[in-house]
Amino acid sequence: MNQHTDILAIETSCDETACAVIRDGREVLSNVIYTQISMHTLYGGVVPELASRKHIEKINTVIENALTESGLTLPEIDAVAVTYGPGLVGALLVGVAEAKSIAWAAGKPLIGVNHIEGHIAANYIEHPELKPPYLGLVVSGGHTHLIIVKDWAEFEILGRTVDDAAGEAFDKVARAIGLGYPGGPKIDAAAKEGDPLAIPFPKAKVHGSEYDFSFSGLKSAVLNYLNHAEMTKEAVNRNDVAASFQKAVVDVLCEHTILAAKEHGIRQVAMAGGVSANSALRTAMTEACKEAGFEFYVPSPVYCTDNAAMIGVAAYHEMMNGAKSGWELNAIPALRLGER
């Protein structure tokens, strides 16, 4: 008799087709990711219709590989989990329809998972000691949230971006300085060759809400700098621009996070989401937390960017709370954190 709880998790909210098998909410038995980046690179960003088409093409192979690698068969799985929002609606629908019919045909419970909550849960994979309450920072291409994780599935949002997400700003700036898509890793690499103090870009604050973020002003400042340099025929050092822009983002993320932790008397900080794979952000946040005397947690890069392992972990905690989705589960592209 299998004493474990094994969850098959599916994630198709953006441009990765992913499936994982998670044991007891922590152990990754398999984690398969088919990334569509090379296709979207041709278009300079994610094309929703193409992402959806690729998902339906690849999803069964990805699921079959995840099952094979886990060493389990579908009948041995205890529940099927799927991301149902937020994300691209057409992309989400592929995973949702697939997960529902697998769960139905295999006679397993279905668990719909919020993608942002999945990112947060990614930290439990490698940090079994991390338990709520703690302060969380979720930074990705679509989300920038500063939150208090009060319990496994209870969140209080302290701050969020009022315009662009942090990852969006990376993509836009990368495009502006000709680094291309995806912006995050390209800026990270270019910044290593540049001087972060070369250009004093503004650290955008949102007036009257100390924990909110605004990155569109910073993006404009970079564009203005580039325009000005072009008009005055000054040479632009792309690496310096990348490093200085990155520093402006990293500084504001660190400042808000440390301030929030101090003011709420929280001594554990966990970061997650695609942008938390950024090496400068990881280093700066590690140092800032060390200096403040906080415990700091961040997943390995593979669990920072979109993956299904994190969805399986979040689903486990949903399941322990008795949550279960019905066959009418739909994709909700603008699903909010903590919303069911």
């Binding site: 193409l50 088409r53 339906i56 629908l93 697939e98 019919s101 066959w327 009418e328």
Partner: protein, 237 residues
């Protein structure tokens, strides 16, 4: 042979369970609610009603396209998930051929049309001959003017029978453009029916026309807008 059939290519959501020449259950709804919410609850409902043991299912049939891109993917992902879990093949049935199959042994030229937006319809042309359905014109995207001209040119001696949601969208235009006898199919057979998908799928299955769950993908008949724009740009460059 027992199979589950699905059609969510258009506004109609339809599921059916067939065993040989018996339609055990079918459920069809033509109402503006997303297929994502309705399709599986519908299948669940009819399965419970007939006490279906899913492990007796031999294949999953799906209206594979053309149709609304999102609608097709909901049907395809549902079919792929079922087939993966039950370890059975997927039978891909062209949407328009299945619609023509609604009109068993009808005399005349059968002309299903689906609104394809951008001033086009999805259409194929079919006739019955010796109790078999023949494809005269394979399904494609075509303008209503071009289609009307083709129907006029063919001038089938028994007339042309039109059906599909494209009729509702273009009826006035069709009546104005068609100069040959034509008829509109009545409500019980003029939209997508999973039962027809399933019945036609049985014939496909017997002749070995099926794929594995992972091989199946919808037949869009159209590239995405991004691809078209990119090709145009590259063609010009």
């Amino acid at each position: 042979m027992k199979l589950i059939a699905i059609d969510s290519s258009g506004l109609t959501a339809s599921v059916a369970i067939l065993e040989d020449d018996v339609l055990l259950a079918s459920y069809t709804v033509d109402y503006k609610k997303t297929h994502s919410q309705t399709l599986l609850p519908m299948l669940d409902e009819i399965s419970r009603m007939i006490g279906l043991d899913v492990h007796t299912i031999d294949a999953v049939a799906v209206a594979a396209g053309p149709g609304s891109f999102t609608g097709l993917r909901i049907g395809s992902a549902t079919a792929k998930g079922l087939a993966l879990a039950l370890q059975v093949p997927v039978i891909e049935v062209p949407t328009l051929q299945a619609m023509a199959y609604n009109l068993y042994n009808a005399r005349g030229l059968i002309c299903p049309i689906m609104d394809a937006r951008r001033d086009q319809v999805y259409n194929g042309l079919y006739i019955w001959w010796n109790h078999d359905l023949y494809t005269i014109k394979d399904q494609r995207a075509v303008s209503i003017e071009e289609l009307a001209e083709e129907i006029n040119r063919r001038n089938h001696s028994r007339g042309t029978i039109l059906l599909g949601d494209g009729v509702a969208a273009y009826k006035d235009k069709l009546d104005a453009l068609l100069t040959v006898p034509h008829f509109y199919a009545p409500a019980h057979v003029n939209r997508q029916r999973a039962a027809s998908v399933g019945a036609l799928a049985q014939i496909f299955y017997k002749s070995g026309k099926y794929v594995s769950a992972k091989e199946h993908a919808p037949i869009y008949l159209r590239k995405s807008q991004a691809e078209r724009e990119r090709e145009m740009k590259e063609g010009k460059a």
